[in-house]
Symmetry: C2
Subunit: 235 residues, 2 copies
């Protein structure tokens, strides 16, 4: 692995507990308005709209739009599906911004600190730059740059997103390693020529609902970013 120069990170699920964070926010924010809602079910339903919304952009039917815009459109759909059309505009805006306030898994902040000692680090997420910057502030991460969908103006798993991220660091694809908790993300990164590391997040979609091991060939697998740092000799 000596020629890997930059580690590129998937964020939703890999670095942050989007399901738990969104479930808590939705339950809390709507609960304070006297609206009882199953936060976990709402989080899952919101996320279920994620891939179809991005596919509109990937297919060329929609010009590139930041994920915040897609999230908001999806939120309106889910509120309607949950019979919550009465939720007001200010609350919708606040809820949409919950994606900027996601909590990291406990190993992530200390893991990134160690990985930073030997590698350039950047998110390569479908989240927009401001969302990534807010998550970094909240969770005390120090990125070298923010790469991903907004830089490439397209969405993963299209190859251009991974290749644009590697090129931003003047790296050939094989000098960049994609780190993710999703086999589909890693399969696409590998097809684009990148190295890959799988991180197990068995509770990503709620307790016991997440990938425990990669279903595709990867260069490395680890149970956490701290374990990845050990494997990569970052102490």
């Amino acid at each position: 692995m000596t020629e890997v120069k930059v580690l590129l990170f998937d964020v939703f699920g890999t670095l942050v507990d989007w399901h738990g964070s969104i479930a808590r926010e939705v339950h809390g924010v709507l609960g304070a308005q006297g609206i009882e809602v199953d936060g976990a079910a709402f989080a899952t339903a919101w996320r279920d709209q994620y891939q179809p919304a991005m596919e509109e952009v990937r297919s060329g039917r929609l010009p590139f739009s930041k994920l915040d815009v897609l999230h908001r459109r999806n939120l309106d759909v889910v509120l309607k599906d949950f019979g919550l059309d009465r939720v007001d505009e200010a609350t919708r805006r606040h809820l949409n911004h919950a994606w900027h306030r996601l909590e990291a898994w406990p190993d992530v902040t200390p893991g990134l600190s160690r990985l930073r000692l030997k590698y350039r680090l950047a998110p390569c997420s479908n989240g927009n730059i401001s969302l990534m910057a807010d998550l970094a502030r909240r969770n005390d991460w120090h990125w070298d740059a923010i790469t991903g969908a907004e830089l490439a103006r397209d969405y993963k798993p299209k190859a251009i997103v991974y290749l644009t991220a590697a090129a931003a660091f003047d790296c050939a694809p094989q000098e960049a390693m994609m780190v993710a908790a999703h086999s589909s993300d890693l399969a696409a990164a590998a097809a684009a020529g990148l190295r890959t590391a799988f991180i197990a997040r068995p509770d990503e979609h709620g307790p016991g609902i997440g990938e425990t091991e990669a279903s595709v060939p990867v260069d490395l697998s680890a149970a956490s970013l701290l374990a990845l740092a050990d494997r990569l000799g970052c102490r």
Copy 2:
């Protein structure tokens, strides 16, 4: 200034002493090969090629190319002009990378640390992402994101570069403040709707050769980033 959310920084001249750094590198690297050269004159000549090269992109005659690529083309021109065609390829590559090793003015690292307490911070430079990331590592800066030419795929002073940087932080133009040592940069930022802060760098192009005050209207002027932090209440 309470509505300013992000500070965008020019880098060459404003944050780093490109002239002194390049002069030292050129003198040292070529000197070690027995080639005597006036480093300061060489640095000035190299920089003189900067605007014409970017104009090729701004005008649409050349597709967007990273500044590293333009710098390299310009280096070859200047070496020829200095009668140094004999300089080998490895040395040219090393010299071109000198732009990734520029030294910050002494106030910059502590100034950015203080400004970070209240504002999102990003470079909005014509330098490419890897160049910005390398300067940040070298000088211990912590950016929220790297904006600028590579994100906008065009060069300052075109409005799209400033507007893309503000939009990356979900800011209206007036919520972003451009910080620069060059009146031309600030005039263009102001024309795009941004706030502006002038930093005096009287020695930018060598001792006594630099702007001591803005020649255009600006929102703030300061003698250093520490003075700017004072003015903006970042203690």
